[in-house]
């Protein structure tokens, strides 16, 4: 099994769900496909989707919902 890391392209605030009252996009253990949205980054008054660039299963999220993040930081690990 290979571990693929999804990294942040942008600095900002990371969200795991599309709106405060909505469920998370993905939970640990969920299957993901290339192109699936796994979170949002808020920066410069706008929200940018974090897209999985691998197929597999989400092994872990490495940041919490609403954490401040830096470019290049690992957001999630995908096992596939």
């Amino acid at each position: 099994m290979e571990i693929h890391e999804v990294r942040a392209m942008l600095p900002g605030v990371f969200y795991r769900k599309p709106a405060p009252s909505d469920p998370n996009y993905k939970e640990e253990g969920d299957a993901v496909s290339k192109g699936d949205v796994i979170g949002l980054i808020e920066v410069m008054k706008s929200f940018h989707e974090v897209i999985s660039d691998a197929d597999g299963t989400i092994r872990a999220f490495k940041v919490e919902n609403e954490d401040a993040i830096m470019p290049g930081q690992v957001l999630a690990e995908i096992e596939g």
Binding site: L10, G12, V43, K45
Partner: protein, 324 residues
Amino acid sequence: MPVNVKSAGLATTVQDLGRPGYYHLGIPIGGAMDRLALRAANMLVGNDEGAACLEAVFMGPELEFNEDTLIAITGAELPPKIDGEVRDTWTTLKVKKGQVLSFDYLRAGARAYIAVAGGIETPANLGSRSTYAIGALGGVNGRAIQPGDVLPVGNASVTIAEGTTIPANLRRGPDKPAELRVLPGLYAHRVSERSLDRFFQDTWKVASEADRMGYRFQGGAPIEFVDREPPFGAGSDPSNITDACYPYGSIQIPSGTEPIILHRDAVSGGGYFMVGTVISADMDLIGQLQPHTETRFVKVNMHTALSARRERAAAIENMRQALA
């Protein structure tokens, strides 16, 4: 020699040194957030210092070159890659016909300037190619670049040696915490003395609402206002004033909670009091602040502000000498 945009980055715009002279009509100067970095990028490829470059924020675009040329990346530490190979910032780089420029993850700063020998020659509006998206002026049809755009580039006049570099001591970025020098005034009398002192003592953090129009800060103590009867035309909130002009660099604090510094794409007027103005010498630094960056406002007087302005002009002259 056009450049093909393969991917655009976040909000990559064509910028030069802006369009002064229309602010009284509500059209801001615009132009590079970090003017020193734009000048440096142009110097490194033999352009006029005010030639149009691309300003990339937080992440870079992917660009394909149709001819051999020189390029330079300055400002933020956003490592350029030519056909996947990482190259230096603040350095004259050669690209060959068909090669692709892309970027690695941002290491420091916020805005990188991409100069191409000959300068980007999208049409100018009101004397400038700077993109002012809200007014649909400059840039590519008044907007940020998009995949599929073809950017026209002028003819290179001067050839600079590959590997020419701006010495590290002449580059400038924010310290940690960032320090922005502020001349108090305008409506500082609206704030209690104790609260004004506190404003300058607190450490603030850049909020995620920070763009070319303004930079918002959080984390300091709320402002305590001096009691008053609202003047004619002012709103009832203690942070309201009768509408007035907003200078570039002015710091407004709506409802006394989160300061906003107006930057190159500023609105020209409105109804919030301003506690002071960031000095011109430190405006470039704001353009390099990432969200969450710790920032302090340092109180200075006019004498310090003017000597800092002279120091910045001398620093640009030193850069010219270093490359001459």
